[in-house]
């Protein structure tokens, strides 16, 4: 019994004493506890903090501070304004979120056929099933049904179904040429959940820093804030195709450490979001060596790995580079790699399927993560089925293969054409420069705004790119995200748009944008 507990046991009421005796203490803790504080005792007459303000218990100023501070730009001011306009009946073009099916992209047929059978297993025994579905669809549905113990309506293992995890491991091995352990793979409700799982575990207090690229995907800034850590930004260099400058990163890590900061992890996004660049193998090798030297966990956001729109820089996973570099990197650099069913040509955002593969993680940490996911019981089974179908598509010779191949190849080719149309469109404009979208789903043009526009924005109390995007929204209905939501070099302005408007509409889209831009520039010339 610790001193504090003895004191407490003396002063506490009957029920509290009973509690002190009854609870099991976690290993290593005071054996009396679960005393209800493992915290410094307050001064004896410390007044309780107000539990109510203006008649409200859950008053905003009485909420968790980290929550209040967290910002999430993808669904921020612009999005709210868009919702308002939509309610008022304005027709909108949503290019703010990589949400392809909302803009009319069709799902891959094979995947949906199988899923429709898996959720309605009674169809498998229906006499009409053979007339409704190709044979390989029925076979795959039977196989999945068996894998899930006949019950996609049941909770699975908290890390996801073992069969699906094995399929993911096989996919990773085929992709990289190095083994993957299904016990180190966690299936999640989309990749965001996996990212938050890792950040929650890594971050202990505000002194823990996570390196994040600037511009970055706001999931990282929001989650780091939510878990009470600190974001340590590293700038990507727009002039050199959004490349990383390791001298600068090393310098900023050293500076932070000299301040007493604890640098825990490093996020990189390849292909980039919102910046669309693809990393070269050289670049990835530098990254891995950096992580090894500086002892940071590498968090590889590789959700856009199938979305590649040029041939010079194919996608290479960090895991493969780790393996190619050999010992000591391959057996020591702690790597978490994230993937999802929401991107690629699948674009199955609403199904919420994702995974994280952990490499070189301490087994005790993997156990802790397992426990943490078990608090939410299990990821959704439809998302798991979607993951299984993504990593294990139809093979040549199977009935659905031709159709699948056609949808897959055409989907990818169309995205490639749209990436070109979009960046060409931006680059044709005065006062706009745009790095080619080598991968992912976004263009991130830089706006060189006239001083009058910047002054008008300032007068309106908004960053200049937010000001621009709001006018774009009001005049054209195009919903984008201002660069300030992702972070950008001081004094520069950008916006992010997806390249997802349907191909037959993309020229109109570009035209609409161009007309607005010209008017805007003229207005503030």
């Amino acid at each position: 019994m610790c001193v504090r507990c003895i004191a407490k046991a003396r002063t506490a009421g009957r029920a509290v004493q009973a509690l002190l005796q009854g609870w099991q203490a976690p290993a290593g803790a005071c054996r009396t506890a679960r005393c209800f504080s493992s915290l410094p005792e307050p001064a004896v007459d410390a007044p309780a903090r107000p539990n109510e303000l203006e008649g409200k218990v859950a008053h905003p100023s009485l909420l968790n501070e980290d929550l209040l501070k967290a910002q999430y730009a993808v669904r921020g001011e612009l999005y709210m304004k868009a919702m308002e306009l939509q309610k008022a009946g304005k027709e909108l073009i949503f290019t703010n979120v990589g949400n392809p099916q909302q803009l009319g992209q069709l799902p891959i047929k094979f995947n949906r056929e199988v899923t429709s059978l898996v959720v309605a297993p009674f169809l498998l025994d229906h006499p009409a099933v053979a007339s409704l579905y190709p044979k390989d669809v029925i076979e795959r549905a039977r196989k999945l049904n068996k894998m899930f113990g006949g019950a996609v309506g049941a909770y699975t293992d908290s890390r996801g179904n073992a069969g699906v995890r094995q399929e993911v491991a096989d996919f990773i091995k085929r992709r990289d040429g190095y083994p993957s352990n299904p016990e180190h793979i966690f299936l999640t409700d989309g990749a965001s959940v996996a990212v938050r799982l890792l950040l929650n575990a890594l971050i202990r207090d505000s002194n823990d820093h996570i390196l994040v690229p600037i511009p970055q995907y706001p999931l990282y800034s929001a989650s780091i804030q939510l878990y009470g850590g600190t974001l340590l930004g590293y700038n990507l260099k727009e002039q050199t195709g959004w490349s990383m400058d390791f001298n600068e990163i090393t310098r900023s890590v050293n500076e932070a450490r000299n301040r007493g900061a604890c640098v825990r992890g490093m996020v990189f996004i390849n292909p980039g979001n919102p910046t669309g660049q693809c990393l070269t193998e050289d670049n990835l090798r530098d990254l891995v060596k950096f992580a090894h030297q500086e002892k940071v966990v590498l968090m590889a956001d590789e959700v856009y790995q199938p979305n590649i729109y040029q041939d010079e820089k194919p996608f290479v996973s960090a895991k493969k580079v780790l393996g190619d570099l050999g010992v000591p990197y391959s057996n020591s650099v702690e790597l978490a790699s994230f993937h999802t069913v929401s991107k690629g040509v699948l674009g199955e955002c609403g199904l919420r399927g994702g995974y994280v593969e952990l490499t070189n993680f301490h087994p005790g940490t993997i156990d802790e993560l397992y426990k943490a996911v078990s608090i939410n019981l299990s990821p959704n089974t439809v998302g798991q089925v979607a993951m299984s179908l993504m990593v294990n598509p139809p093979q040549p010779g199977q009935e659905s293969y031709e159709q699948w191949k056609k949808e897959h190849d055409e989907g990818l080719a169309s995205l490639r054409r749209r990436a070109h149309a979009m960046t060409d469109g931006f680059n044709s404009l005065e006062g706009v420069t745009c790095t080619f979208t080598e991968g992912a789903m976004y263009s991130f043009p830089r706006l060189h705004l006239p001083p009058k526009a910047i002054a008008a924005a300032k007068a309106a109390g908004k960053p200049a790119d937010t000001f621009y995007c709001l006018q774009l929204l009001e005049e054209t209905g195009i919903v984008t995200v201002p660069g300030s939501g992702f972070g950008q070099e001081e004094g520069t302005f950008h916006l992010r748009t997806t390249i997802l408007p349907p191909e037959e509409k993309i020229q109109d889209f570009v035209k609409l944008f161009q007309d607005f831009h010209k008017k805007f520039m003229a207005k503030y010339a």
């Binding site: 506490a12 976690p26 493992s38 307050p42 309780a48 669904r75 049941a154 202990r204 007493g260 604890c262």
Partner: protein, 506 residues
């Protein structure tokens, strides 16, 4: 305790001393993650998985040939069939082309097709697109309709957040309400470990209140008051009261009077009422009915109905549907300020959206086929069949426990669990203590080792000191149930005999 063993944290605070890198290990990850415990998937569950693997590989030498998962409310893994109408609509939503197929009308009833059309027409991009972060509007409207019909009071769909199961709602609320360890949440003991785990995870403190087993697991206000006063006198702030109705693991169903008292207590002590109502359709006891806290609150007059902040949670995982794997749920906020709702919207938006097929399933459950609809007859038959069978199983389980030596068991009025109390021989308590475990852990582990029945020891939920309990679901199919209770009884007899013998001999 946190501070005495936390040299790493102390180092962190002692800036500006240069920090050397630290590789990730259990010692260097977030203490709150490590400290969180989650008994439902603890050591016994993990061992049961290993047994299942062994049986699958055809290994003999185990004293059982089947593992009975009575540890978790996961009905479909035990063979409970999904409700046809729900799955028909879901399968059409996954693959809308089916509706155009000439054979579709032979397979799908017209109301299933109509419902799928209605949803797809109103959800831009269908199930494959991110929806609004709170859930698609049409689906929230259907849930709101169901709530309004249940309570006889209006429900605004903007006050609803659809979630991936009910658990995320608990996470959101804990994250939102807890600011530091001084902030306490009142939780029933025994409680569902989701609460203890999330309170730990978000760095708050669990303030327990004991349910009284002798009074059908009801809570008394005097005891709640005592707990709150003690906590406040120590400088702590009490933020919310968790109530699970019908109870988990305790199976009681609250009555109007009791609910009124709890609401009054929340008003007086300025607490948020977190109402876990996920078992609202699982009611078995004669004369008992589920009353939502929203209904009771709305009927207590403006002094209460306009003031007490209430969070009501529901799920697709329980009831007669048991769609655990789908991950669907919602919470409704009553009497919350708009700017707090904005904050919760922001939290939800960081995960983009809950899975859409789980959302659809939630909407279907709150707005099922009505009398006169083509699917109603089959729907009602399936629903009633499952609920009646659960009722029979609840009675069988309780009767069995009551027939065992040294076991008492309250009625399973609702939910999916029986929570019998064990009076075990002192030798068993001692043997368990030698392993550093409570006696009910030892009991459940031996039960698993000898019979293949997986349960959760009462110590995982918390219980009055010196008492021991076991939680078992009532979910094994009726055909297996007879075997389960038989094996359980036999095990219990041998357990008692063995430890009494040891006691006598020592």
């Amino acid at each position: 305790m946190l501070h005495s063993s936390a040299s790493a944290e102390q180092l962190c605070l002692a800036s500006p001393v240069r920090r050397e890198p630290e590789p990730v290990s259990v010692k260097t990850i977030n203490h709150d993650v490590v400290a969180a415990e989650y008994a439902v998937r603890g050591a016994i569950a993990i061992k049961s998985t290993a047994y299942q693997e062994q049986l699958k590989e055809g290994k003999d030498g185990l004293p059982f040939d089947k593992v009975y998962q009575c540890n978790i409310g996961n009905p479909q893994i035990l063979g409970q069939k999904p409700i046809s109408f729900f799955r028909q609509v879901l399968s059409l939503c996954e693959y809308p082309e089916l509706m155009e197929h000439p054979a579709a009308a032979d397979i799908y009833p017209p109301d299933a097709i109509a419902r799928a059309k209605e949803y797809l027409d109103n959800i831009p991009g269908g199930v494959g697109a991110y929806s609004e972060s709170k859930g698609a509007v049409i689906l929230r409207q259907h849930v709101a309709k169901g709530i309004a019909e249940r309570d006889g009071h209006p429900c605004n769909f903007e006050d609803l957040w659809l979630t991936d199961g009910a658990s995320p709602g608990v996470h959101y609320m804990m994250k939102t309400l807890l600011r530091n360890e001084q902030d306490c949440i009142l939780c029933p003991i025994p409680q569902y470990p989701l609460y203890s785990a999330t309170i730990k995870l978000y760095g708050g403190t669990l303030l327990p209140y004991f349910l009284e087993e002798g009074r059908d697991w009801q809570a008394t206000v005097a005891h709640l008051q005592e707990q709150v006063d003690t906590a406040r006198s120590q400088g702590k702030q009490v933020r919310a009261l968790v109530v699970i109705n019908p109870g988990n693991p305790t199976g009681q169903v609250l009555d109007w009077e009791n609910q009124e008292l709890l609401i009054k207590f929340c008003k007086q002590e300025q607490l948020v009422l977190l109402a876990d109502e996920v078992y609202q359709t699982n009611i078995y006891a004669a004369g008992r009915e589920f009353l939502s806290f929203k209904k009771v609150l709305m009927e207590m007059g403006p002094e209460y109905s306009g003031h007490v902040p209430l969070v009501s949670m529901n799920s697709i995982s329980k009831g007669y549907f048991g769609e655990c794997g789908r991950r669907g749920g919602y919470f409704e906020l009553v009497n919350f300020p708009q700017d707090v709702k904005d904050q919760l919207y922001k939290v939800a938006s960081i995960s983009l959206c809950p899975n859409v097929s789980g959302q659809i399933c939630m909407a279907l459950i709150m707005n099922p086929p009505q009398p006169g609809d083509p699917s109603h007859e089959l729907f009602a038959k399936e629903r009633d069949g499952i609920l009646e069978s659960l009722k029979r199983r609840a009675e069988l389980v309780v009767d069995t426990f009551r027939s065992m030596e040294g076991v008492s068991c309250n009625e399973v009025e609702g939910s999916m669990y029986a929570f019998p109390r064990l009076t075990v021989p002192p030798a068993a308590v001692k043997a368990a203590a030698n392993q550093g475990k409570p006696a009910d852990f030892l009991y459940c582990m031996e039960l698993l080792d000898q019979t293949g029945i997986v349960t959760v020891p009462g110590s995982g939920f918390g219980q009055e000191p010196g008492t021991f309990h076991v939680r078992t679901t009532i979910l094994p199919p009726e055909a297996d149930m007879a075997q389960v209770v038989q094996k359980f009884s036999e095990f219990h007899e041998s357990f008692m005999r063995r430890y009494k013998g040891e006691n006598g001999g020592s």
